[in-house]
């Protein structure tokens, strides 16, 4: 119980710190910029709270660190664990880009060969795909979609992908809760 609220609090604090930093650095931001800053600081706060133990958090940090504009924000939020996280995130980035490319290429080759085989089969015997192969295709399509959704998900196999998805979902929910409460609070404030 304590950990739940404390985690949310940690996230909130880091997030607010990030927002303050953004605000102090730039004045007169447009709405879009502000939105991006909010989202970014939220993501980074998330990742830092998780201490980059999960893959998707590392991927988030990695993608954020690639953008040089965010360096100050990144350093601020990630804080003392900067060295570890940066290493981890950089490793993730490096691995992901190379390995993903390779995997994708190899998978494409495989798919091409399978497709050719299937065409041959069909042309030969007009075999109907048994239902489970159709299901497999559907599942594959959807896992691909999921990989695109979850940050850093491209280079994971199905098992870890599902774990990461679980984790990410839980986190997203927490993020939504915190943001919503903040929004309501500020609404009330403005209303009064």
């Amino acid at each position: 119980m304590h950990s739940a609220s404390s985690i949310k609090q940690k996230f909130l604090k880091k997030w607010i710190m990030g927002l303050q930093l953004c605000n102090s650095s730039k004045k007169n931001m447009t709405i879009m910029e502000r939105r991006k800053a909010i989202k970014l600081s939220a993501d980074l706060a998330l990742a830092s709270v998780r201490n980059c133990t999960t893959r998707w958090s590392r991927a988030l940090v990695a993608s954020a660190s690639q953008n040089d504009d965010n360096q100050a924000l990144l350093q601020h939020i990630i804080g003392s664990d900067a060295a570890k996280h940066k290493k981890a995130s950089i490793d993730v980035v490096a691995n992901s880009t190379t390995s993903v490319a390779k995997k994708i290429a190899s998978k494409k080759i495989l798919k091409r060969s399978w497709g050719i085989r299937r065409v041959r089969k069909l042309s030969n015997g007009a075999l109907k795909d048994p239902p489970y192969s159709i299901a497999k295709r559907l599942v594959k399509k959807r896992t691909q979609l999921l990989k695109n959704l979850v940050p850093g998900g491209e280079s994971m196999d199905a098992i870890s992908l599902i774990e990461e998805t679980l984790d990410y979902m839980v986190w997203l929910r927490a993020q939504v809760d915190v943001m919503r409460s903040l929004a309501r609070a500020s609404e009330r404030l403005d209303g009064k």
Binding site: M1, S3, A4, S5, S6, I7, K8, Q9, L12, K13, I16, M17, L19, Q20, L21, N23, S24, I31, R34, I38, K39, R50, N51, T54, R55, G79, Y132, A135, K136, V139, R142, T143, L145, L146, L149, V150, D157, I159, S160, E163, E164, T165, L166, M169, V170, R173, Q175, V176, D177, M179, R180, S181, L182, A183, R184, A185, S186, L189, D190, K192
Partner: protein, 398 residues
Amino acid sequence: MNNSGGSGGDDMGFPDGGNSAANCPSSGMIANSISEEVPMMAMSSMSTLERPPISVDPFFTSGWDTLASLSHNENYGSSSLVSHGNFVGSSYPVLMDNQGFGRNGSTQLAQCLSDPRLQYIGSGSISEMVGGSFGLPELNHLANHGSLPNSASNINSSGCERNSEKGAQSCECQNSGEEPDGSSAGDRRRKRSPDPSSQYCSNKNNEGDNSDVLRLQNEKKQKIEQPESADFSKHNTKQSKDDSSNDGEAPKENYIHMRARRGQATNSHSLAERVRREKISERMRMLQELVPGCNKITGKAVMLDEIINYVQSLQQQVEFLSMKLSTLIPGMSIDLEKALSKEAHSRGGGATNLALNPGMGLPHLYAQGVLKGTLPIMPSTDQYRPLSFTGWRASSSL
């Protein structure tokens, strides 16, 4: 092989898994923080993961009776997962869900939340009532109108007691139901009625469905009994492949006991693949508990579809909320604390995620109206202090 990489992530809180069965009836602790690690939380953490998101106000519920029945049903379905122990990445206790849960009158909910079992039940059942988090924007809108805290609280408090009892009982029932099967570990061939989850395992070995499910459940029990690393499980899998071909009788206390069943191929490849498939189906089941309204869905494809929709909707919510915040807070740093303090007051100070942890800096701030409370948290960067301090001054003047 990819599995080794993937199963590396399996080193979840399985050290906690050993206690989970024993702790099931009593624990009720839903907090699920792996880093902080109370072993008891293992079960409750899974229970919390099972709960769909709480996006509905209490007054939406038609009644705690229905909720109790729903939760009751859910308990049976999900308690099998309870034994799984902590899930590695998710260090978000259930409480997190429940906090977003009661927008109004959530103080009473907070009291209910103090009993973890209540969280376990209340959150899940209500979200089931709502039928998912996809109606969130409207609910939010309604929630903002701030209606009926009292009635909600009464309902909550009354329902909580009942639900807690049922939750404990169902939890115990399920675990006790599983345990006898596990105790007769030697006889793995006991047939059970095929679970819906057996459909996940689209087997190449056609006879294998029931046994797969059975082994999966046995596997889980073994995980309870012996929390070990996934690498070790891989090792055992290889060992047991040999064992399965040679010795089919002696049940071993392995992490995953892969014995070839009657009429199944003892090919090492198929065994490994079966392990993999079972892992996937386990996790799919976990996900099923987490995503709202997915308890009746069987089948990977549909389940994945729901998951994708849910993740997308959550991401869209984040976008929407960040946009909203960007419009609401032009200053972005100025009145944050003030807003939070007001929120805390409006909720009675007991229900917000901020106020729940009395030792933390933010509530402390409210009393003083000074930034100093947050300073210890930050890595001290002096350049930012004066900026934020002026921000607080500005807010106090509002």
